[in-house]
């Protein structure tokens, strides 16, 4: 596709359940990023992939959060045993190689609501 695609667009889950969020980056972009946007914390970095490896996963808030990327393309962010404080919009972005001086293009996000 032309842009970064995220699915689902909305996810409602019960506290304690696991959720998987998917990101399909722009074709040819080797770098992929996950961010979280919430009212209380603004936009926070979660993890960055270069190819299939994650040089920087220091933004993941707890060990309930994990992410993987396969084939240098699609990435999945998994949240285990969801808590109400996990409610937020999860954004994915991608860029060409050489992070820092490259523009990150964002998807529309997945709005996660934990009841």
């Amino acid at each position: 596709g032309a842009g970064v695609s995220q699915s689902p667009s909305n996810k409602v889950t019960e506290k304690g359940k696991d959720v998987e969020l998917r990101c399909d980056p722009i074709s040819g972009h080797t770098a992929l990023y996950w961010y979280r946007q919430s009212l209380g914390q603004g936009l926070e970095f979660l993890i960055y992939f270069q190819g299939n490896s994650a040089p920087d996963k220091s933004g993941l808030p707890s060990d309930r959060f994990s992410a993987e990327r396969t084939g240098g393309s699609v990435s999945t962010l998994t949240i285990q045993r969801t808590q109400q404080e996990d409610s937020a919009v999860y954004l994915c972005a991608s860029s060409q190689s050489l992070p820092g001086k490259n523009i990150q293009y964002f998807g529309a996000g997945t709005r996660l609501s934990v009841l």
Partner: protein
């Protein structure tokens, strides 16, 4: 602590008024600077960027920003706003080196409301 500060949380203007949104960052090394915009119901879009060279950069829709290294600032300006500029504006920074290379550090955002 590393941070990006946006001074105004909510700015309300009438059409044709001039706009300046402040942004300061706290990193000492080489940085790359961005302004992103999020229109109601839409995803984050790049408004403009600064990597190097002329510190006055022009973006889309008549926006411009000036990088003042001595003040660690990257303020966004537009001489005459339109109703369609109503959106949330985010200042962001990446570093050129270090373990957090590539990570965008965002300010908290400024909600701009323009009255017709």
């Amino acid at each position: 602590a590393q941070s990006v500060s946006q001074h105004n949380h909510h700015v309300i203007l009438s059409e044709a008024a001039s706009l300046e949104l402040g942004c300061n960052y706290s990193y000492g090394g080489t940085v790359n600077l961005f302004w992103y915009v999020q229109y109601p119901g839409q995803h984050l879009q790049l408004l403009l960027k600064y990597f190097s060279g002329d510190p006055l950069v022009k973006g889309i829709k008549g926006f411009e920003a000036e990088f003042i290294k001595s003040k660690f600032s990257f303020n966004l300006r537009k001489p005459s706003v339109q109703w369609s500029d109503t959106a949330e504006y985010f200042c962001a920074v990446t570093r050129d080196r270090g373990s957090t290379l590539g990570r965008l550090y965002f300010g908290r955002g400024t909600q701009l409301t323009v009255w017709p």
